[in-house]
Every structure is written in structure tokens, then in C-alpha cells.
């Protein structure tokens, strides 16, 4: 307890601990005129393959620019987002950092990221992509890759039980009917689709029906369509009764990408959500068995297909020019492109992707396939608005209580709607 209290405060005061970093930067400033050596700090999240590939790319940059060396820090997703706020609080975010679409608004709104609009990305990144990524007319992150959300399915077992594969642009009605039909053909203990308790699944549904996203306007507008909410979750309630989705107790024990506990790799559920960036991990757990299809669509479309991983530069960096030059190089240099491969999804630069294409592995092709299937019906990527992280957790817990039969859908709706509106009012008053 005491330790926790100390930890809290230590993190608050971590400015002192990172002093070393700052000193180094000041040293560098002194050398600036003489074009002396510089150290760029850089931080990213990801799996081991990405760490190795990125370190290799950094070495290549140092070979090409002998005055630049790197101080890399890399970790898993959770650790990254725990560390970043403490660095931000002490104004010691690394010179270059990986950014995600789910968080970039929060960091931009707090002035932590440098405007990169003046970088010339002509011929490297599709101008439409850049337009899409601008926040208040400015670009705060260089897109690294194309990513898309879709659904992976166990094609081997579907064939085995004589269930047709889902087809591109299936509607939500078709998706639900497919699940009902598949139930009839599957043996006990196997389920066609997984249950859902997270906000994003319902947000896909709501937006595909042409309604506005749950959070819009930077979190100032909150829209939770009650009719759609009731329809969506009543469908799943019936599915639980008909064993079309696994029982809540089983669902709570699933752990994605765990060889034994992954809902799909364990052979229990026939489908699950997957992205271009993540489907390769699933394919490695069950080689040759994974097929992909885009998200179910409604009148407005469905799913998303766009860049969600960026490189940004810290607004407090002392090496902004060097950092900007580096981030541009990162998506331009062919040699770097080869070293990085598809460790961050499909490279945003078409030239680099063309070079890699002939040698793609099956797991990488799957990601590309998912992207191609999703792109024409895709809706924008909706991330939680700044300040809504707690609401995201609360949504999941309230819906879990529904799946365990501890509360009604309507009761969950009321609580989720109330908190969302409160947060929106708070965001509006700022």
C-alpha cells in the first residue's frame, strides 16, 4: 500500500529520473553547429519480430548517417501505454515514437506531438490517406502501414462440417443467419461465433446502419442508439440460449493468441475478429487453416481499412529536424523496407510493398487479403475519445454482467448511456 502510494508519486516526479535524457540532448545542441553526433531516442511497442526488424532498420540508418545513433526502447502494447503518460508528464517523451490511431487524438489535444505537415510525402503516401489522417488540418503522425479489421474463420473445420464459407460484404442479417445455420451442423462444444461484450463491436453495428459513431466530435457528442442496442444484444441473448455463442463462463476464459486458450486456435469457436496486423499471429497458431472475410456490412458499409500505426515526433524533442528526416526515411528507404518487412502490416509505401510482394509468406498474404476484402466498404476507424478509457472498461463489465445473466440489457444500456453522456458533457465544458 505504502509502495503503491510511493509508486504513484514517483511516477509523478519521474522528471528527475529522466534528467539524464535531457542533459544528453543539451550536449547535442552544443554540437549542432559543428554537425556533430546525435542520439535520437525512439520508442515503440510490438512483438519480438517487430523489435528485431526495427533494430535492424535503425542500424541501417546509422550506417547511412554516421552522425546519428539511436537509443531504442521497445516493449509490449500495455507497457507502452503505461509508460508514455509518465514520460509526457515529465516532458521527456522520446524524440521519435510509435503512435496508434486509438490514442493520437489524446496526445495531440495535449500538445505532446510535433506538427509534421511540412514533410513532403509526395509519391510515398497516397494523398487521400494523408487527408484522412489530418487532425485540425495538420499531420501529427507519419502512417507506416495499411491495416484493416475483418473476421478470421477456421476454413478447415467449416469444410469438414459442410458449412459454407462467409462471403465478402455479408450483411449483419446474413452474418446472424450464417451463425444459426452453422449451429445446426456443428457438434456439441463447438460454436460458430463468439459472444460480444466490447463497445467497438456494437459501434461497428451502429455505424454500419448509418448512425453516427458512439463518440464523435472529440468526445463532445455521445450517441448510443437504443433501438439498435436492444436489437443487437437481444440477438446475442437468443444466441446464448441456442448455444450459437459459447456460455459466458467459457467466453471469460478465452485469451487471444494463447495456443490453448485462443477461442479459435483451441478449436472451440469457428470465427473471431482479426486485423491485417494481427491475423498472422493466428495463422501461426493454426497454419493453413485460417480464412478471412471483411466485417459484416450494413447500408453504410462496415469495418475499417486504413492506417492505424504512425511514427510521431515529440513536441519537446531537441532534435526535431533529425527526427523528421528519420521518420520520412523510415517509410522511404528500400533497404529499411526490406528489413522491416510486414512487421507493422502492409507497408504504406506502394514501391516498398511491390519489392516485398514476390517473397511474401502465407501469413502475410492473409493480412493483405483481409485488407483487400475490406477496403471498398470500409468506414472510418473509430477510436475512443480522449477521457473515455474508463467508459470503455465499464461498457465491457456491464455487458459481461448481461452475458452472465446478472442484469437486463436495458439496465446495462441505462448505465452505459448515463456515463457516456456525463463524459460528453464534461468534454463539452472544457
Amino acid at each position: 500500500m505504502l509502495m503503491l502510494a510511493i509508486m504513484l508519486v514517483l511516477s509523478a516526479c519521474s522528471g528527475g529520473g529522466n534528467g539524464g535524457n535531457k542533459e544528453k540532448n543539451t550536449d547535442n545542441k552544443g554540437n549542432k553547429d559543428s554537425g556533430g553526433a546525435k542520439t535520437l531516442s525512439i520508442m515503440w511497442w510490438g512483438p519480438d519480430a517487430r523489435h528485431e526488424a526495427t533494430k535492424k532498420a535503425l542500424d541501417i540508418y546509422t550506417q547511412q548517417n554516421s552522425n546519428i545513433t539511436f537509443k531504442p526502447e521497445f516493449m509490449a502494447w500495455d507497457a507502452f501505454w503505461q509508460k508514455l503518460p509518465t514520460l509526457a508528464a515529465s516532458k521527456s517523451i522520446t524524440d521519435v515514437l510509435q503512435m496508434d490511431a486509438a490514442y493520437i487524438h489524446e496526445y495531440v489535444s495535449r500538445g505532446q506531438l510535433e506538427d509534421l505537415s511540412d514533410l513532403d510525402l509526395n509519391g510515398i503516401v497516397d494523398p487521400n490517406v494523408i487527408d484522412n489522417l489530418q487532425i485540425d488540418g495538420k499531420l501529427y503522425g507519419i502512417p507506416l502501414s495499411q491495416n484493416a479489421q475483418g473476421i478470421a474463420f477456421n476454413k478447415t473445420e467449416l469444410d469438414q462440417y459442410g458449412i459454407p464459407h462467409p462471403h465478402k460484404d455479408w450483411t449483419y442479417d446474413e452474418f446472424f443467419q450464417w451463425a444459426r445455420d452453422a449451429r445446426a451442423k456443428l457438434p456439441d462444444g463447438k460454436y460458430p461465433i463468439g459472444d460480444t461484450t466490447t463497445w467497438d463491436s456494437f459501434n461497428y453495428y451502429q455505424t454500419s446502419m448509418g448512425k453516427s459513431p458512439i463518440m464523435s466530435d472529440g468526445g463532445k457528442t455521445f450517441t448510443l442508439d437504443k433501438d439498435l442496442f436492444m436489437t443487437f444484444y437481444q440477438t446475442y441473448e437468443q444466441f446464448r440460449k441456442d448455444k450459437i455463442v459459447p456460455p459466458a463462463e467459457k467466453a471469460a476464459a478465452f485469451l487471444e493468441n494463447d495456443p490453448q486458450a485462443d477461442p479459435m486456435a483451441s478449436g472451440v469457436v469457428m470465427t473471431r475478429g482479426a486485423t491485417t496486423g494481427s491475423v498472422s499471429a493466428l495463422e501461426q497458431l493454426m497454419p493453413g487453416k485460417v480464412g478471412v472475410v471483411n466485417m459484416p456490412v450494413g447500408p453504410a458499409g462496415g469495418g475499417w481499412a486504413q492506417s492505424t500505426i504512425f511514427l510521431s515526433v515529440s513536441a519537446n524533442s531537441k532534435n526535431k529536424d533529425e527526427a523528421k528526416r528519420f521518420v520520412k526515411w523510415f517509410i522511404t528507404d528500400k533497404e529499411a523496407g526490406k528489413a522491416l518487412g510486414l512487421t507493422r502490416g502492409i507497408p504504406i509505401n506502394p514501391d516498398i510493398y511491390k519489392e516485398l510482394e514476390p517473397n511474401l509468406e502465407a501469413k502475410d498474404k492473409l493480412g493483405k487479403e483481409l485488407y483487400d476484402l475490406s477496403v471498398d466498404k470500409a468506414l472510418p476507424f473509430y477510436s475512443p475519445a480522449a477521457g473515455f478509457s474508463e467508459w470503455v472498461d465499464m461498457y465491457k463489465k456491464e455487458m459481461e454482467a448481461v452475458t452472465f445473466g446478472q442484469q437486463s440489457i436495458e439496465a446495462a444500456y441505462n448505465k452505459i448511456d448515463k456515463m457516456g453522456k456525463e463524459l460528453a458533457a464534461k468534454a463539452g465544458s472544457k
Binding site: M1, L4, L10, P85, Q112
Partner: protein, 319 residues
Amino acid sequence: MAATANTASGNEIEKKKSGGNRKKKGAHHIAGYVFISPWLIGFLLLTLWPIAQSFYLSFTEYSLLEDPVWTGTDNYTKIFTNDTTFTKSLSVTFMFVLFSVPLKLFFSLMVALALNKNVRGMNLYRTAIYFPSLIGGSIAVAALWRNMFGIDGYINQVLAWFGIEGIGWISNPDTSLGTLILLNTWQFGSTMVIFLAGLKQVPQELYESASVDGAGKVRKFISITLPMLSPVMFFNLVLGIIGSFQTFTSAFIITKGGPINSTYMYAMFLYEKAFKHYQMGYASALAWILLTIVALLTIINFAASRYWVFYESDGGKPK
């Protein structure tokens, strides 16, 4: 006999020491502080100052990304009047403490009694039984627990031999907290070692004279072992309560606080507020509330101890 003699001479040494210090008072003050300065500086800068800071932060709204904003007692008001998660996590934690502390005390005392015998190879048994506590609240233990109590875990496989269909002990909101209490009980090693040391201190002649008076095993346990062990038991109780209130790792790794908050321990709530939702001010207020609760319970414990804890040096009677 030997034990009593030792204590007596120990007391004399203590007295001499303190007397000596009193004489040298003043002269060596500065030297003393210089000698303890490495600790003192560490304590002031890395412990006391952060604690003071967290007290200040508990009256602010602080997202880490922006400067703290003074909000008075807003955090505390919200916690006490309008935060169902606070009530839930507090009640989960109280349940955990209520069950795991007595269970662990009882279990470790039984094991200590079993290990307090003169049998060949006793050291080997002691090591083997203490071993699980060495691996502590680690990730490996959490993984082990998942494999045991998971829906396809070993427990359910064993139950299946008897035709019983098990449930997902960890993923069922009714039983998940129970599995964590069991885990905490299973890690009885350090408590057990302290009990064992206590048992070794009980003078053999008490048992001998009781035997002469015709006391049986149960009688000896109730009238000699338990009273003689009461200071050790008190120590274990206080530490057990404090430790249980801070339980974090097992809930964080095994159940992630779920399903539906059924294992959402207070420490985990506090952690998520701070490092997931970036509400440092709120989290600091939660930390101070926890400190207050634990302090109050400890005071109550000490107050109650006079009625049941027995110190030989006090002349053999609880006050």
C-alpha cells in the same frame, strides 16, 4: 531453562546499551546523522516527499499529461458518494481479507505443528513445503493456477473421473474470488516459518510439568501451545491483514479483476485509475483511503490484542 536465561541476559544488555547512549547524548549527534545520512536522504527524498506529494495530489485532478488542478475534496466526495466501483472493490477486498487471513493462519499453524517434530530428514520436508512460497506471487504461479482451475484445468479433469462436471472456477463470478483466496492460503510459507520459530521457543519444561499433572495432547495444545504462541499469532495476523489488503498480482494476472469485477481488488482499482485511466489525483485519494483503513484496522488489532495476546515477560497474564 536455557531459553529463559537467554532472555534475561538479553534484557540486561539492552538496558546497558540505552544507559550508555544517554550519557553520550549531544556530543555525537551530528556524527550519528552523518552515519545514517544515506538512509535518511533516501527516506526523505524517496519516501516521505513522495508521500506528501501524493497527499497533495489527492486533492487535485491530475491526468499526468497536464498540470494538476486543485479541486479541493472533490475526489473524496466522489469516491464516497458516487462511485459504485469503489464500493464493489472495497467489498471484494474485505471478503478476501475476511476469508484468506484466518484460513492462512490456521493452515500454516497446522503445517508448522506437523513440521515441529523430531523426525529424520525433517529439513528436507520443511524445504519442500516452504518451496511454493519462494516462487511467490509470480507470473508462473498465476499460470499454474489458470491451468488448475481453468475450465479445462486439472481440477475439472479429476472431477470428471467421478462423473462431476466442473465449472470454470476462475471464469465464474461466483467462484473466482475463492480461487484467489485458495492461492493466498497455499502460499503459507513465511507465516508457517514464523509459527515454527514460535513453537521452538515454547519451553519444554512447561510440557513436561503438564504431563506430570496428567494433561493430554489436546489440553497441552490449548493451555500451553496456543497461549505461548499468541504473540507470534498476533504478528502474523497484523501482517496478514496488511498484506491481504494490498493483494494485487494474483488478481491482476489470473483474473484481471473479472469476471464482472468479482475479483476487482482495491489495489487493482487504484492501479487502473492511475495507470490506465490516467487519474492520478483520484488514485492518490484512493491510496490515502486505503492507508487510513489499514491503519484503523491495525489500531483496532493492537487494542484487541491486550485481551488475548500473552507475553511471558508480563508475568504470564493477558491484561
